[in-house]
Symmetry: C2
Subunit: 445 residues, 2 copies
């Protein structure tokens, strides 16, 4: 069964999350979680789906960028493409004309990621496996063939990557079985959004503890006094044995980051996330030196593997936060997982938004099975928003992600949700009465 790729369906899907201040932080006061959602069909009736995640305005620019990438895919032979997804990645990322718009960053790079992820979704569905198992069961040679080592070789080349993957082969089958049974650790951000009242935060923290979470993250950065008060309140509530991290969403200058985190030292923080600009490798390194033993975590806005290479090589980040939809898809995230493994830095994915939990969990499951071989100091972010719109919602049990079981990448939205939240003409946007985007009955929401 071969066939060729046919024209895409691309939909601008937006959820009016700003109505509830879900997802509010110091940099993003009023996000409307959105997806430029692409279905990549074949002439034989199969398809894969992927998306660019955005927070509202500009989602239509991501749609336009996916359309620009479409021209490079339609008409390609499906079998040959699926057999060489490293080749597809290079074809899309290195297109000389589209490349000018990055290079390898911003909307076009994210659009390539959506398309690459959609083709992976198709491949996983065709092979009847969840993406993480498909990836975990590749040989080291098959895995390195997916990675473009261009501009990485001064730190990581194919030979070194093969060594890392081969070293993780023993015990892989056992780790896959363990993941199937026990899942992977999660931490939750659901309790600590900046727009929430103290009362709501306290209630949500208690619910998170009841749900078995042992690591919580709070948004900070709007006001240093208020940050200290809120972090202190939560530390008192959770006691000494629960981990607390904070997320400043880039709002600090370098010296300010160091001094503000120093002030929070009594509250025993695990990491400070995005203390300053994600482009500021040297600034983040200075923060890392200034706030140790608190770790610096960054990655959700890191444009590509070349920037991650430097963040890891300099010790600027002690926690590597990959995102499923920022870089150019599965292949580039594999490169980043390998770079992190090379430097012994734990990978703790960014998630939340819409669909990010569903997709990125596959990468951490793969990381444990086939790359890092460890869950020590590793958690996947969990935010309890909008899961009900997915065919296989991310599922948490006792503070751990359970293993996804359906074939595919996790990106598949319910058809009804796509229709309802289609922007600007779906009923969620045209109905005059605002509606909540999720119920408050879910465990941490």
């Amino acid at each position: 069964m071969s066939g060729v790729f046919e024209p895409f369906t691309v939909v601008d899907v937006r959820f009016p999350t700003s109505r509830d201040l879900d997802g509010s932080d110091a940099m993003n006061p009023d996000p409307d979680y959105s997806a430029a959602y692409v279905e990549v069909p074949t002439s034989t009736g199969e398809s894969g789906v992927g998306f660019v995640f955005t927070i509202g305005r500009g989602n239509e620019v991501a749609v336009s960028a996916i359309r620009a990438v479409e021209d490079l895919v339609v008409g390609l032979d499906v079998d040959a493409t699926l057999a060489d997804l490293g080749g597809l990645w290079k074809r899309l990322v290195h297109d000389s004309q589209l490349r000018w718009l990055g290079p390898e960053k911003g909307v076009v790079h994210m659009a390539v990621g959506a398309v690459v992820n959609a083709v992976w979704d198709l491949r996983a569905k065709r092979e009847g496996k969840p993406l993480w198992r498909l990836l975990a069961e590749l040989s080291p040679e098959e895995t390195v063939a997916l990675v473009d080592f261009r501009h990485l070789t001064d730190v990581l080349d194919e030979d070194r990557a093969l060594e890392l993957l081969r070293a993780a082969e023993p015990g892989k089958a056992a780790r896959i079985a363990e993941l199937e049974e026990h899942g992977y650790p999660a931490y939750t951000t659901s309790a600590g959004w900046l727009g929430y009242s103290d009362e709501k935060v306290r209630r949500l923290v208690r619910e998170a503890l009841d749900d078995g979470f042992t690591h919580l993250k709070l948004k900070v950065g709007a006001d240093a006094d208020d940050d200290a008060r809120r972090v202190g309140m939560v530390r008192e509530l959770v006691g000494p044995d629960v981990r607390l991290s904070i997320d400043a969403n880039q709002v600090w200058e370098v010296p300010e980051a160091v001094s503000t985190v120093a002030r929070l030292a009594p509250y025993d923080l695990t990491w400070v996330e995005e203390p300053t600009s994600p482009d500021d490798i040297l600034g983040l390194r200075a923060v890392a030196e200034g706030v140790a033993p608190v770790l610096v975590a960054t990655g959700e806005h890191v444009a590509n593997r070349i920037v991650f290479k430097q963040l890891l090589a300099t010790g600027a980040i002690g926690v590597c936060q990959i995102d499923a939809c920022r870089v150019a898809g599965v292949n580039e995230n594999i490169a980043i997982l390998l770079l992190a493994a090379q430097h012994g830095v734990p990978v703790c994915p960014h998630a939340g938004g819409v669909g990010l939990c569903e997709v990125v969990q596959h990468l951490s499951f793969f990381d444990y099975a086939a790359v890092s071989g460890s869950q020590e100091g590793r958690w996947i972010e969990f935010v309890d928003h909008l899961h009900e719109h997915f065919v296989e919602p991310a599922r948490i049990e006792r503070g751990r992600y359970t293993a996804p079981r359906l074939p595919g990448s996790g990106a598949q939205l319910l058809d009804a949700s796509v229709e309802r939240y289609r922007y600007p003409d779906g009923p969620a946007w045209t109905d005059t009465v605002a509606e909540p985007t999720h119920t408050e009955l879910t465990p941490a929401g």
Copy 2:
């Protein structure tokens, strides 16, 4: 005369330059120089123009991004906006939802740049001055108010920027007069495109020398043997007193860059441009150490001032190549000029494409008048393509840019050119017979 900003006109303009291999290099074999061209009108009948420069595919994504930025401008009071262009910059760059698509990089950032530049064009036209004179005649206080120091203050803050600008005040009037009379040094890339035959290169090099150029740049990076042969050929042709630089357009790995440039040592190079990824601050620094005294030049693909901050602070670049249309417009380029001045690194703008010479010359003229105060080791790139489409084409005399004289930023295309090259429906694209995009009668073309 006040008024408000009205809805934009945005046109996808593309020149079929790939038909002649103009602009071909190791990374970009077949560019179609293009502009997502925006006119920002006011309710009082004024307007300013700006553009995102691209090399073809994806120009429509830039159009879409300009449309996304439009919503943040339409309806603003014109007088109040022009009186606080630092405020406008922050409004556009820090829009929380659009910001997600960068942050501060890629298509959305470039679109903000086009709009910011268009508003500057409007202001310069209203004040009846070419942009460079308008900028040069601002006070140090007015200039620093244009700059957003966010994420720069560990290296450059407002006080230090004021010191730099005040130090350049003495002699400013004399330098402005000097620029009016003698212009600013240029170097030419027109002779050395990778797709040209040896015979064509030799002819163009001779023409460039006849035209008074004393600094030429050649494209390299496709094949090391061929690079050495071509650079040797040109060095022999020009003799020892003409400067030669090379441009690898990012194709090398770090060690490869060092070894290839070492091989070219006999040919006395001034700089090597884009030896590797523009995101690789540490890699560029390693190249700089490895190829000294040849300087590393980079910037046309550097996403924003935060990356420039690091490139300059680490000594990764010895030549700072601003681009008029990569970062978020005039304001961000002023920040970069200040960072370069702070580190004593000469600014040699990237130009070429379509309209980049016309716009970026204003920034170097301003730099000499009000920031660096020096032309030592400084040249603006000149490429002899497509100037005939502009109301005030960049003009070279004896190897120097002459001072632009018309009010505005230089970005204004001829109406006839916009109509002819409108994509995909302009006659240049619908006519079945291919046409040349420029004549060969121009001095260096």
